[in-house]
């Protein structure tokens, strides 16, 4: 696989991001689907335990840190992002030396209800306040009462954060952050969309590796300049007809969170068989966080964050995947049935039947390498690729 130059930059950028966290006067631990713009506008440094979990998974230390949580009574069946992150708190360290102690916690259940429980645990450990932004599940239609409910909570959150940090939210600043957030999401989406080219200049593994800035730095100049540069590099590849893998014969879509400890392994597995995983549903989820340009920032925010990818019904999910199938013109879908992520995985059997191309389901876990069964995965994937 041809590595993107930008991945090196990403490493630097994220190192800087983590370093800044150690010095930040006040920080909040926040879930990946929460409206981070509010934190940036208050100059509250956002800490992403999920991103931290992914990083630990990628360093193949998931099982090691999970065990610290398990020794303290947390079941092995719980989400491995939560387990390894709580494990790091007990261990007092992590591959990056642990996360800074939170000033407060901000959990939004538009990605799962697990984060509510996880953050309750953290709130008891650190004895810091927790704000839960409760998003109704939008199975079929987004109703006015849902939006009002969420919008009211956004106001509650602002009062809460102002009280805890003793700062005042500046409307102009919030607007500025939201504009930057929109711009970075747009640039990021453009990067992902370059994979529609044949051959694709990137794989979903490039997307996984380079998604951290859109998660953690959305709403800042860093994310904008990063994705601008990434776009440039991808455009160059497209212009020169450079393919991300040696020979692209089969194009595939990945569904679910990556198997972080096996990124390279999967990448090589598919490349060897001339198959390119050009895109995925996970990184595409962030391309949806486009707060509208409307007058009222908070109501726009309420809408965008309520209908996030994991907070909608299966019919809509299948529709989105089918659109991705068309956009990226893929021949098949590889679905990761992820033991750690029930809302992402349950329903895959049904979604599979609604897709316009063949698909295969493999069982694994995003961070906990102890449950990965290589032989089983290989058998399933090989049979699938042969069938294609």
């Amino acid at each position: 696989m041809k590595r993107l130059r930008i991945s090196e930059k990403m490493r630097e950028l994220m190192t800087g991001y983590y370093m800044a966290g150690m010095q930040a006067e006040c920080n909040a631990w926040i879930t990946s689907g929460a409206p981070v713009e509010l934190l940036h506008a208050l100059d509250v440094y956002p800490v992403y335990p999920e991103n931290h979990g992914a990083l630990i998974g990628a360093t193949k230390l998931g099982g090691y840190y999970c065990e610290f949580a398990e020794k303290n009574g947390f079941s092995r069946d719980l989400c491995s992002y939560a387990r390894c992150d709580i494990g790091c708190v007990f261990a007092g360290t992590s591959p990056i030396g642990g996360l800074p102690k939170p000033t407060f916690l901000f959990a939004c259940n538009n990605i799962c209800n697990t984060v509510v429980k996880w953050y309750e645990v953290l709130s008891r450990i650190f004895k810091v306040p927790l704000f839960v932004l409760d998003m109704p599940f939008i199975r079929k239609e987004l109703k006015d009462c849902h939006l009002r409910y969420v919008e009211e909570q956004l106001y509650d959150f602002i009062s809460f954060a102002e009280r805890v940090t003793d700062r005042k939210l500046d409307d102009a600043k919030l607007r500025d952050v939201v504009l930057k957030s929109m711009e970075s999401v747009e640039l990021y989406s453009e990067c992902l969309r370059t994979a529609a080219n044949k051959p694709s200049p990137m794989t979903c593994f490039d997307a996984f590796v380079n998604m951290a800035p859109i998660v953690c730095l959305r709403g800042t100049d860093h994310a904008i300049s990063f994705y601008k540069e990434m776009k440039q590099e991808l455009d160059e590849r497209v212009k020169e007809g450079v393919s991300a893998i040696e020979r692209e014969e089969i194009r595939l879509l990945w569904d679910n969170i990556p198997v972080w400890y096996r990124l390279k392994w999967f990448g090589e597995f598919f490349e060897k068989r001339n198959a390119c995983l050009v895109a995925d549903t996970y990184t595409n989820a962030w391309s949806g966080f486009k707060v509208s340009r409307g007058e009222d920032v908070l109501s726009g925010m309420a809408e965008v964050y309520t209908v996030s990818y994991l907070n909608i019904g299966m019919e809509m999910t299948a529709e989105i995947i089918n659109k991705l199938i068309d956009l990226y013109d893929v021949d098949g879908v590889v679905m990761h049935s992820n033991r750690s992520c029930k809302p992402y995985s349950f329903g895959q059997y049904e979604i599979q039947k609604k897709l316009s191309v063949p698909s295969v389901i493999i069982e694994a876990d995003m961070v906990d390498e102890r449950v990965f069964s290589e032989a089983q995965v290989v058998t399933r994937l090989e049979a699938f690729l042969e069938m294609l």
Partner: protein, 323 residues
């Protein structure tokens, strides 16, 4: 006509007033076969068992409340399996009554689409009947907890349920003083499990939704005057029900509730269904607090249908011995 539901936050009064039988769906003794084609094996066996039940039995429709990630997805899965479904978005964060009243208004429309008829008088009648049932169950449990009855009443017409509990109260005898165990968890629809605790020499108290969480409410102190205020009554009633780990409360109300329940108990058993995330997240910290109070604590993990009651017996007897 049976309308199935899985969670105790479901407004069964509304379903009943519409002319349906609110029927709580549990895992049964049947092995899980058909459900495996619809949902992965790392879903809890309450979800898989209920789905099995739904696929094999006759139901008019199913009502879901968002309680956990599994239930959230289960609604769609039931629908995909050809069932008529509705999901009510009961808030995860307890507090906003007004929002939930609107959800209930929309639910009435769904009940009408299903052929039900809801009006104020009928709803008040159902509210009264369920309150009566809940009070009778409290009375029965104060004498001697009867889980077989508590489970059965969730699957029969409320008027018959009241009669059944009345009969049980007449014949129930106040339990003798024995070491007391608090059983905490989600569901356990197998009465035999509770018998094991008794046979081991415990008197039993619970924090389960096949036990007291089905009937422990604090009722709002106003009398509804129209349909809308009746919905407000329901919203407040359910928000103030015995707290559940699937909800987020101010001031850690859920923990405080369990700790208070445990005060007069010698031991606490976490009777948890494998893969039940909300309970398993609470377990370590709650256990620590309970042990800090000097309680003996044990964790028993269950999968439905229960295959080995004797394994549970061994664990319970071992716990009894250390008291």
């Amino acid at each position: 006509m049976k309308v199935g539901y899985l969670c105790t936050f479901t407004p069964k009064e509304l379903i009943h007033s519409a002319g349906f039988l609110p029927y709580r769906v549990f895992a049964t003794d049947r092995p899980i076969n058909l459900a495996s084609a619809y949902i992965q094996s790392y879903s809890c066996s309450q979800a898989r068992g209920s789905l099995e039940c739904a696929l094999q039995d006759d139901f008019h429709a199913f009502v879901f409340t968002r309680c956990c990630d599994t239930l959230m997805r289960l609604t769609d899965i039931f629908e995909f399996a050809g069932k008529r479904v509705c999901n009510i978005e009961f808030p995860t964060k307890i507090g906003n009554v007004e929002y939930y009243v609107q959800e209930l208004r929309d639910f009435i429309e769904v009940l009408r689409e299903w052929g039900g008829e809801v009006n104020f008088e009928r709803l008040m009648e159902s509210l009264k009947l369920y309150r009566k049932l809940e009070e009778k169950l409290k009375q029965l449990f104060a004498l001697s907890p009867d889980y077989e009855t508590a489970i059965k009443v969730q699957q029969i017409e409320v008027r018959d349920a009241i009669k059944l509990v009345d009969e049980k109260i007449r014949t129930a005898k106040k339990e003798k003083e024995k070491p007391k165990v608090l059983i905490t968890g989600s569901v356990c629809p197998y009465p035999k499990v509770y018998e094991i605790f008794r046979e081991a020499g415990f008197s039993v108290k619970d924090d389960l939704c096949t036990g007291s969480r089905f009937f422990e409410y604090s009722y709002p102190d106003f009398e509804p005057v129209d349909l809308d205020s009746a919905l407000k009554f329901i919203a407040e009633k359910y928000m103030n029900k015995s707290p559940c780990p699937t909800k987020h409360y101010e001031k850690d109300k859920r923990f405080e509730y369990v700790l208070k329940l445990a005060e007069d108990c010698d031991a606490v058993v976490f009777l948890l269904v494998k893969f039940c995330d909300p309970h398993f997240f609470d377990y370590p910290q709650l256990r620590e607090r309970l042990e800090g109070m000097g309680k003996k604590v044990a964790l028993i993990e269950l999968e439905f249908p229960v295959v080995s009651f004797e394994q549970i017996r061994t664990r319970v007897e071992a716990l009894r011995e250390v008291i």
